[in-house]
Symmetry: C2
Subunit: 134 residues, 2 copies
Amino acid sequence: MWYYVDPHSGIPIYVQLKEQIKKAVATGLLAEGQQMPSVRELALQLTINPNTVAKVYQELEREGVLQTARGLGSFVAKRRKDFGPQQESSLDNALEKLMVEAYQLSVDADTLYARFTEKLAAWKDRLKKGAEGQ
Amino acid sequence: MWYYVDPHSGIPIYVQLKEQIKKAVATGLLAEGQQMPSVRELALQLTINPNTVAKVYQELEREGVLQTARGLGSFVAKRRKDFGPQQESSLDNALEKLMVEAYQLSVDADTLYARFTEKLAAWKDRLKKGAEGQ
DNA sequence: AAACGTGTATTAGTTATATAGTACAATATG
DNA sequence: CATATTGTACTATATAACTAATACACGTTT
């Protein structure tokens, strides 16, 4: 499990770390209930400030990705199961964004469809393996 | 054609405007060769600073979305046609990002597929109409 | 040449980001 | 109860990002 951040990338450190953790959770690399390294430990590993890690954990808790408690630690939360209008709308935006980006990359609709289905298949595999691991 | 920015949204104004313009170009709402409003004019309309608009135009030029010249103005560039390893990699990242987001939204693979194909169909329609318009 | 409309550069002020250091609060363990 | 470990809160400081105001440079048109 190794996170990597680059202070000179232009992207805020806390954003980089946050996205990596979200990705690790989404791919099953981090299982539900699994304990995260402590704020101080992770800060030491990445040579960044504990406050920065704390900020990441706090935001991830607000987003429902982690569950955290003083004296105990931070843990990967159980995946939310509700899919309502809020989620529907967010998904719509994400898809719209993808199409815009594909256009700029001069990807035609057929190629986009092909790459998407490939990626989706790989994704399902990874999720399946993650679920079996538990 | 009307852009809208919210200075209090937490998202930088120039990012908001940039994304809206990219989206307008990608949907054919802004046609190739079409002249953009001047830096000052757009700044006036949005009640923001001309420099902010200028920054957007500059970045969009670097990305190949606009073409700009002093004394003349800014214009929608012709769409890039090359799809190389660079673009392939960017597309891969974009798809990965979509999957991660879908996971957090508790969207299952089937629903994601369904919404994607719907959106792609709508997209093709818009592109077709945009091309006919020229 | 003059005037006008374009994008651009310079400077300044405000806000966000990151770090550091210290202290505090809650839980587990001896 | 004492101690260690966890996350949290607070203050202070430095740097970078963002926006704004003003002046400048390029090109067109009269």
